[in-house]
């Protein structure tokens, strides 16, 4: 449940006594948007199908659709039908500093809601449930994590998957040789070109990368979940008014059932740019998260102790 809601309710109730209702003053991000006339949306380049570039290099995806609903809601609430939307590309490494620095107002991508990140940023209700697995070439003969002993593994810098894989490597003393990459597409390319044998990432993104590969049948996603990764839109911390607007919008999409349409559109239909269909049915975890919207984060080391 969203604890913050109670807080907002309490503040709202308290403020009834001091502030006249008609003079509701905007604060935080909403004030910034009203003042500047622009809402800045952070997006990813290759988080298929959450937030990625289509063949015209425009950001699209499941997360982008939900974010655009939030933008619409901002337009209505602030009575700014002409509100400009600016799209800013972010990477796994830059997303948090860019958000806290104010260069974007929300990040719509594939960001795991983790307890550690909550020290820096806030999250909207979870909109996808996934977890770390690895993608390998079928020809590599890798059947599980323990086959990675002494092999080269590529990771995307700044991801929770990097930590989960490293925690596993430390625990099992596999002596994996890690190489860093800047974004998921670059990581996957390292596997495709044979520089690394495996790439640990949230399984849904791995299926997206596999489907978009030149020869999808050459790859497989294997392993048990190394971590659980609830995805959510990322917002600045300590901004209850904007968070409430975002939460209400997302929960509204859940309650109205519109989420099912969005889900089908991105996970069970052909998607741009190549017209692939991920055929990824909704998991029980996501169904639960939609039924009981929450912004609970996960710990830092995946399913390992640390």
């Amino acid at each position: 449940m969203l604890r913050i809601h109670h807080l907002v309710a309490a503040i709202a109730a308290a403020s009834l006594f001091s502030v006249p209702v008609h003079a509701q003053e905007l604060t935080g991000t909403l004030k910034k948007i009203k003042d500047t006339g622009v809402i800045k949306v952070g997006h990813r380049d290759a988080s298929v199908p959450f937030s990625y570039l289509d063949d015209k290099q425009r950001p699209i995806g499941y997360g982008m659709d939900i974010c655009m609903k939030i933008v619409d809601r901002v337009r209505t609430e602030l009575k700014m039908p002409k509100l400009k939307v600016e799209f800013v590309p972010v990477t796994s490494q830059t997303r948090i500093p860019i958000l806290t620095g104010g260069n974007i107002d929300m990040e719509c991508g594939s960001t795991t809601n983790s307890v550690e990140r909550q020290k820096q940023v806030a999250f909207a209700p979870t909109y996808f449930m996934t977890g770390t697995k690895i993608i390998v070439k079928k020809s590599s003969g890798i059947k599980g994590y323990d086959d990675l002993k002494g092999k080269t593994v590529v990771f995307t810098q700044g991801t929770t998957n990097e930590r989960a894989m490293k925690a596993y490597n430390d625990e099992k003393k596999l002596g994996i040789n890690f190489i860093p990459a800047k974004d998921h597409a670059e990581s996957f390319l390292a596997v495709e070109t044979g520089r690394a044998v495996a790439f640990p990432m949230d399984d849904i993104l791995l299926y997206g990368l596999k489907a978009g590969a030149r020869n999808p049948d050459d790859y497989e996603v294997i392993g048990e979940f190394l971590s659980d990764d609830p995805y959510a839109i990322m917002l600045r911390r300590d901004d209850p008014a904007f968070k409430k607007l975002v939460d209400d919008t997302v929960i509204g999409i859940y309650k109205s059932g519109e989420i099912n349409k969005l889900y089908t559109k991105w996970f069970q239909s052909k998607i741009p740019p190549k017209g692939i269909n991920l055929n990824f049915p909704m998991s029980d975890g996501l169904k639960a998260a939609i039924k009981n919207p929450n912004d609970t984060g996960v710990g830092p080391c995946g399913r390992m102790k640390c």
Binding site: Q57, V88, P89, T94, G101, G102, D239
Partner: protein, 229 residues
Amino acid sequence: MFSGFDFDVIQRTLPYLWQGMLFSLGLTLLAMLGGIVLGTLLALMRLSGNRAISLPAAAYVNLLRSTPLILVIFWFYFLVPIAVKQFTGNPYASGIGPFYSALIAFTLFEAAYYCEIIRAGIQSVPAGQVHAAQALGLNYPQATLLVVLPQAFRNMVPILLTQGIILFQDTSLVYVVGLTDFMGAASKVAQRDGRLVEMYLFAALVYFILCFSASYFVKRLQLRITPPR
């Protein structure tokens, strides 16, 4: 050797690459302009007889010249917004945007390099010129603006332009913070479509043609404007 490569990918993504090129060129021109203005100020500070003025300028220039550009980009990209917030006291201060973050980083970085070029340029103006200006009754700002700097810049134009070409090459480093300059655009396409070979060779070719013709032009210019000795 290039069988199985798909050079059509370049044609398909040309508009996107062009957008990136405009970003690179805009960043280069603005940072050059800002760098020269700030660099001139720093150079005048460094040449000042007052150590309270010359020392901070020297420290700034030496610090920036010892630090890798990538680190400077990280500094500004991640910390300037935080500093702006601290400075203005507004926790929701509007971010200055990725382009301007990069522009500030490049301007401040290049200013250190331009400062040294301009300092040498100013020193190359014979002292007699300053004395003559003073004899005519010009004060320091007048002598600097009307006599020293015009002559210094005349000599320096080729070096300033050459530094601009280096700056243009350096703008490719905004790749590290995920911005879409020309190289950023090329690498995004390269990675999304798995066309590394085609896109990176194309990027190399484009940079080469631009920088080679620009330096050829600078060389011609140098021959033309070198004052007769």
